[in-house]
C-alpha cells in the first residue's frame, strides 16, 4: 500500500495496512535542508525550494504525507500585514505595528490569491503533487480565522476584545475566514488531498473556552463546510476544554498535542472521529533520543490515535533519527 493510500483509507474510515505517520504542521529541519539542498529563507518564498523541502518529509523521514507551507504568515501578508523574515534559522512572523485597530473596517482584496507569496505556495503544491502526489498524501496548510484576525489586530488587543467587545471582532473574523477558505480551495485545486488548519490563537491557553464557542466556532464550521477535502484542525496547547466544540466544526480529524487528554478526545469524537497526535515536538522530539521518542509514541498510540504525529510543528533543530523512530513505531501497529 502506498503512503497516500494508507492516509486516504484512514480518512475514509477504512482499514489501512498500518498506522500512518505524518505531521499536520511544519516539517522542515536543518538536517533535511542539508540533504535536499533547499534552505530558509528561500523555501519560505520560492515554490521550487518550498516543494523540495516539503517533499523531504516523505523521501527522508518516511512520513506518509507532505505539507506546505512552514509558517503562519501567508494569508496575513496577502491581507496587507508586514512580514518579518527569520533568516536561515527561523520562520517568518508578522511585524509591528499591525495593520488594523479594533474600530477599523477590514478589507479582503479582490486579488487576494495573487498577493504576497500565495502564488508561490500554490505553485509549490502543484510541484509536490506532480513529484510525489501518487505516492504520498499532499496537505495544504491554512491558518484559522481567529489567528489571522489576531495577526491583523495584534495579540493583546484581540484577547482583550474577546472579553470586552466581542461584537467588534466579527468583521475581522469574517474577512479572516474568507481569506483562509479562498486559499484552502486554491490549494485543493492545485492538488492538496487534505487541508490542515492551524489556529494557535484559539487555544484555551489564550482565549476562554466560551470565546471559542461563541466567536470562533461558527467561522470554523463555515470554513470546514466550504472546503471540499478532509480538514484537520490543529489548535496548540491543552484543548481539553474545547475539544467538544472542535468536533462540532465537522472537521475530519483533530490534531492534538500530548498536553491534551487523548482519551478524552477519543471519547468525544467517538469511533468516527480521527485523532492525530502523539509526540511532544518541543521537548521529546527536539531534545530526547529515539528510545524515549518510541516509548512516548507507543504510549499515546495505545490511548487511541488514528495517526501518529508530532504534537506540533517540528522544531527545525530536531534530529532526523528521532523522526525516523516515530515512523518505526507506526510500523509496529499493523492491521493483521
Amino acid at each position: 500500500m502506498t503512503s497516500k493510500e494508507r492516509v486516504m483509507k484512514v480518512f475514509s474510515h477504512e482499514k489501512a495496512d498500518r498506522l500512518p505517520c505524518f505531521c499536520a504542521n511544519g516539517t522542515p529541519t536543518y538536517e533535511q535542508m542539508e540533504k535536499v539542498g533547499a534552505y530558509w529563507p528561500e523555501a519560505h518564498e520560492r515554490a521550487e525550494d518550498m516543494a523540495k523541502l516539503a517533499i523531504a518529509a516523505y523521501t527522508i523521514l518516511g512520513f506518509d504525507a507532505v505539507r506546505a507551507p512552514f509558517c503562519q504568515t501567508f494569508e496575513a501578508e496577502a491581507l496587507g500585514c508586514t512580514v518579518k523574515f527569520g533568516g536561515r534559522e527561523n520562520i517568518p512572523g508578522i511585524d509591528h505595528p499591525t495593520l488594523y485597530k479594533l474600530d477599523d473596517v477590514p478589507v479582503l482584496p479582490d486579488d487576494f490569491l495573487k498577493r504576497g507569496r500565495i502564488p508561490q505556495l500554490i505553485e509549490a503544491v502543484r510541484i509536490m503533487k506532480r513529484e510525489v502526489g501518487d505516492k504520498a498524501a499532499i496537505i495544504g496548510g491554512i491558518i484559522g480565522p481567529f489567528t489571522i484576525a489576531g495577526a491583523m489586530l495584534d495579540a493583546v488587543p484581540i484577547l482583550k476584545a474577546s472579553f470586552k467587545s466581542p461584537d467588534k471582532l466579527h468583521p475581522f473574523l469574517e474577512v479572516a475566514e474568507k481569506a483562509g477558505t479562498m486559499l484552502g480551495k486554491a490549494l485543493i485545486e492545485a492538488g492538496a488531498d487534505i487541508i490542515a488548519v492551524e489556529d494557535m490563537q484559539a487555544s484555551p491557553d489564550l482565549i476562554a473556552p466560551h470565546t471559542y464557542r461563541d466567536l470562533e466556532l461558527e467561522y470554523q464550521k463555515k470554513q470546514v463546510e466550504a472546503l471540499d477535502a478532509p480538514v484537520i484542525l490543529h489548535i496548540c496547547g491543552n484543548v481539553d476544554k474545547i475539544v467538544g466544540f472542535m468536533a462540532e466544526t465537522g472537521c475530519a480529524g483533530i490534531s492534538l498535542e500530548p498536553k491534551s487528554d487523548t482519551q478524552l478526545a477519543r471519547k468525544v469524537v467517538g469511533t468516527q472521529g480521527i485523532i492525530i497526535g502523539g509526540v511532544d515536538a518541543a521537548t521529546t522530539l527536539f531534545m530526547k533520543g529515539p528510545d524515549v521518542v518510541k516509548e512516548a509514541a507507543r504510549e499515546q498510540v495505545e490511548m487511541g490515535l488514528d495517526v501518529l504525529a508530532p504534537g506540533c510543528a517540528i522544531a527545525p533543530g530536531t534530529p532526523t533519527a528521532n523522526l525516523l523512530a516515530m515512523v518505526e513505531v507506526a510500523k509496529e501497529y499493523t492491521d493483521a
Binding site: 534559522e89 512572523g93 511585524d95 482583550k160 474577546s162 472579553f163 470586552k164 518541543a282
Partner: protein, 249 residues
C-alpha cells in the same frame, strides 16, 4: 438507622471545597472600599478601577490603596488563573485595571511607587507574541518591581544592552516557539562575557527545563506566577546557581 443531617464534624468533602473555591474570587480586604477596588481589578474593569481608586484615595493613603486593594486584587486574579478558572484575556484586562489604579495613586503621591529592584523582560527574537510576558510583567509590577519591558521579537543584542544599562536583579525571556528559544543561550553567553552573571529566567510554551538548565545563568520558569518569588530571591542576593537549585528539579 439514625442518620445525621450535618456531617461537618465527621468528614470534610475537600473535593467539593476545591470546586467551590475555584469558582469565586475570595475576599481580600476587610475594608469595604478597598474590597471594591480589588473587585474592580478582579473583574478587569479599568474605568471602574480608576473611579473607585479616586474614591478610595479620599479616605486612604495611596500606598494603602495599592497594597491592600489593587495588588491583592491582582494576586487573586493570578490565583484564579492558576486554578484554570480565569483565562489569559481576563488576566490582561485585570492588569490594565490595576495599572490604571496604580497610576492614579502615584500621581497623588507625586512620585512613582518605590520599587524593590529592576527586572528586564522580553519575548525572544523571532517570536511574534509577547503574550507570555504580559502576565509576568503584570505580576512583577504588582509585586513592586520596576519592569523594563522590551516587548516582543527582541534581538539578542538589545537584551544584553538593556541588562548592561539597567543592571537588573533578574532578566526574563519567553519563547512560544521552538525556533526562537535558541536565542536564550546566546544571550546568556554574551552576558557572561560581559561579567554580568544576572539570573536569566526562561519560560514559555516551547521551553523545557532540560533546555534552559543546559546553559549557564539559565533558570527554568515553569509558571508565570513564579516570577515574583524568583525576583525576590534574586533581590535578596541569590545567584543563578542557588535559584536553579531552588526552583528547578
Amino acid at each position: 438507622m439514625k442518620y445525621l443531617t450535618d456531617y461537618s464534624n465527621v468528614f470534610t468533602r475537600y473535593d467539593l471545597n476545591i470546586e467551590v473555591a475555584r469558582q469565586a474570587a475570595r475576599k481580600v480586604s476587610k475594608d469595604e472600599l478597598l474590597q471594591k477596588v480589588a473587585d474592580s481589578v478582579v473583574k478587569g474593569e479599568e474605568d471602574e478601577a480608576a473611579k473607585l481608586t479616586k474614591e478610595a484615595l479620599q479616605k486612604k493613603s495611596p500606598m494603602d490603596v495599592i497594597n491592600e486593594g489593587l495588588i491583592p486584587g491582582m494576586n487573586e486574579v493570578s490565583r484564579l488563573w492558576d486554578e484554570g478558572v480565569y483565562f489569559l484575556p481576563q488576566v490582561i484586562l485585570a492588569s490594565d485595571a490595576m495599572n490604571a489604579g496604580i497610576a492614579l495613586c502615584e500621581e497623588k503621591m507625586g512620585k512613582a511607587m518605590d520599587k524593590k529592584g529592576k527586572v528586564v523582560t522580553h519575548t525572544a527574537e523571532g517570536d511574534i507574541h509577547d503574550i507570555g510576558q504580559v502576565i509576568v510583567n503584570a505580576l512583577l509590577n504588582a509585586n513592586g518591581f520596576d519592569v523594563i519591558n522590551l516587548g516582543a521579537d527582541v534581538p539578542v543584542d538589545k537584551v544584553v544592552e538593556a541588562c548592561r544599562v539597567h543592571n537588573p536583579v533578574m532578566v526574563t525571556g519567553t519563547a512560544l516557539m521552538t525556533t526562537t528559544m535558541t536565542a536564550f543561550p546566546k544571550i546568556a553567553s554574551q552576558l557572561k562575557r560581559l561579567g554580568l552573571a544576572i539570573p536569566f529566567v526562561c519560560g514559555g510554551g516551547a521551553v523545557s527545563e532540560e533546555y534552559v538548565t543546559s546553559f549557564e545563568l539559565g533558570i527554568w520558569g515553569k509558571e508565570a506566577n513564579q516570577a515574583p518569588g524568583m525576583a525576590e530571591d534574586a533581590l535578596s542576593g541569590d545567584n543563578w546557581q542557588a535559584m536553579r537549585g531552588k526552583w528547578n528539579g
